[in-house]
């Protein structure tokens, strides 16, 4: 057999292996987390606050972290949508296709997307110190919003860029102003907005380095924006570093809850993309 055919077979085999490795890692991670977390899971974990002696292995759960994460994720997703929809609309309707500003803006959001959350955290932390703020729910919400806005904008923009310009022309010819075409545009990029939202929620709920500086950690549920808030990833992280077995087990349970949430978001994202894409022009 000629060398080129041997080479072909060899590399084909290697490619199979590499692709299988991708599946292997997914299965390995989920299996490791779920098999360790399942045993430690109980209803108390997700329904109770940490009790006295929680960190030496006594009773309680991590409801504080679940609620804290929900607050931060919910608020920052809303804020993120409020900021990013106008920006995406502006870049795609007000600015022309070859606009210099649009190019620079896209580049900047791609770069911001690459900036690690620890840098956002450190930056927000210095701002908070400057204004005399303590670690708080508000701080966490702001830093997570900053973190997810680039993801929001870039993933919506990907969809908005494929938006047919003829539809805009049709709207203009009926006498609509640029701003009034927002109804047409929004309807067309709806699936993009939905997937971008799920993506951002996924990133927001999993962020640990940013909220560590800004939201802090607490055993109770925050009742105002100026109180610190616990978050799921930090609950996992702090309890993992404990030498006590029961506390570590709770970290595994929290890790499992977090993983399941992220998996659910990922599946929902797929479904939405598949379902809505057939209505697009």
């Amino acid at each position: 057999m000629k060398f080129k055919f041997i080479e072909e077979r060899l590399f084909k085999l290697l490619m199979y292996l590499a692709t299988l490795a991708v599946f292997g890692f997914v299965v390995s991670i989920i299996w490791t987390i779920v098999s360790r977390g399942w045993g430690a899971m109980s209803w108390d974990m997700v329904s109770k606050l940490p009790g006295g002696g929680f960190y030496v292995g006594k009773e309680g759960g991590f409801l504080n972290a679940i609620v804290g994460s929900l607050y931060i994720v919910g608020a920052s997703t809303l804020l993120g949508l409020l900021v990013s929809i106008p920006v995406v609309f502006y870049m795609n309707v007000y600015l022309s296709k070859n606009s210099r500003l649009a190019y620079v803006a896209r580049l900047a959001y791609d770069v911001l997307f690459g900036i690690p959350s620890i840098v956002y955290g450190a930056f927000a932390f210095t701002i908070m110190i400057y204004f005399g703020m303590k670690t708080s729910l508000a701080g966490g919400i702001i830093v997570v919003t900053l973190l997810i806005v680039p993801i929001f904008i870039r993933s919506m923009d990907e969809v908005a860029r494929t938006f047919p310009r003829e539809l805009l022309d049709a709207a203009y010819s009926l006498g609509a102003t640029r701003f009034e075409t927002i109804r047409v545009v929004l309807r067309q990029i709806m699936p993009g907005i939905a997937t971008a939202t799920l993506l951002s929620i996924g990133r927001a709920i999993g962020d640990a380095a940013g909220v560590m500086f800004t939201a802090g950690y607490t055993d109770s549920i925050p009742t105002s924006l100026s109180q610190p808030a616990a978050t799921m990833p930090l609950a996992v992280f702090f309890q993992m570093s404990s030498p006590i077995k029961e506390v570590q087990n709770r970290a595994y349970a929290a890790a499992m809850v977090l993983t399941l949430i992220v998996l659910a978001l990922s599946v929902a994202g797929r479904l939405i993309t598949n379902r809505f894409s057939k209505h697009r022009v």
Binding site: E8, F89, L107, I118, L146
Partner: protein
């Protein structure tokens, strides 16, 4: 006299323009803010001393970042060496060989890998990779290892940047015109020869840019690496040594730094190094990738 509708149109335009510019200014604000915050330590120490000294004694006012820079380089290097081939092969398979049905299963898997929070990777590394290194791999090479090593950090980071690399590569390979492939196969080249001589050669710049992007993602990864690297402020001598990457340093000391202005400035300097390096890497590779996109479009 302009109509109300036109007025609305203009005000909305103004507001949106402001929002766009404001988010652009965030990049500048971050750079300036971090620079000001790290200026106390920059005033007392020369840049060379900060970057190339390995003596890290914050209480004595000695801030040598070399161990942390080397730690970051080691874990990133290991991650890229181990996982770049995997990412390339998987991406080639998915674009050149696989039927669309296969992609339907692999893409969700990549989505999941990309979406899992970094703390989950940390737990996975602690539960699986660390025992594997300390009980199975390390005994073949060194006397004793806890498993909390640069290698563990590299493996965990590698899996984390794998989906990013694969999706960037897929985008690059699909943008190579199929006529070029047809020309190559019609001359009798096998598929792999076509990949090697046509597809890879056409996208070599893009591959470099994608790797740079993945590297900068790896530079900033914090929690996962913090959980598996061992965190000893020494320059690692082998892959079985503990290491202490920059982001881990910042995250580990965020509470105690407040009482020492110099210490705080030093940590902010660490954040600034990360910011500057990642900013440059991202700018360069994104501009290259944009160009590639345009060339074939």
């Amino acid at each position: 006299m302009i109509s109300l509708r036109a007025l609305k149109d203009r005000t909305a335009g103004g507001v949106m323009f402001f929002l766009t510019i404001a988010s652009l200014l965030l990049v500048v604000a971050m750079g300036v803010g971090l620079y000001f915050k790290s200026s106390p330590v920059l005033a007392d120490h020369s840049l060379g001393e900060l970057l190339f000294s390995s003596s890290w004694h914050p209480m004595k006012g000695e801030f040598g970042f070399l161990p942390f820079l080397m730690g970051t380089l080691w874990v990133t290097g290991i991650a890229v060496i181990l996982f770049l081939p995997v990412a390339l092969l998987a991406a080639i398979y998915l674009t050149e060989y696989a039927r669309p049905a296969v992609r339907k299963y692999v893409f969700p898997a990549l989505d999941i890998l990309a979406g899992l929070p970094s703390v989950i990777y940390g737990v996975w590394g602690t539960l699986l990779i660390i025992p594997w290194i300390s009980e199975w791999l390390a005994p073949h090479f060194v006397e004793f290892s806890t498993g909390y090593t640069a290698l563990a950090g590299g493996v965990v980071l590698g899996v984390m940047i794998l989906p990013l690399m694969v999706s960037l590569f897929i985008e690059l390979f699909t943008s190579v015109p199929s006529e070029l492939r047809d020309a190559s196969t019609s001359l009798g080249a096998t598929r792999w020869q076509t990949v090697k001589r046509v597809v890879l050669r056409k996208s070599v710049t893009g591959i470099l840019a994608a790797v740079v992007l993945a590297v900068s993602r790896a530079f900033g990864e914090t929690i996962a690496v913090l959980m598996v690297c061992g965190n000893l402020p020494e320059v690692p001598r082998s892959i079985f040594n503990a290491c202490y990457p920059l982001p881990a340093l910042i995250a580990n000391n965020y509470g105690e730094m407040l009482s020492f202005p110099q210490y705080e400035a030093a940590l902010m300097f660490a954040a600034m190094i990360l910011f500057v390096v990642i900013l440059l890497f991202n700018l360069i590779s994104r501009i290259i990738l944009y160009r590639m996109e345009k060339r074939f479009a």
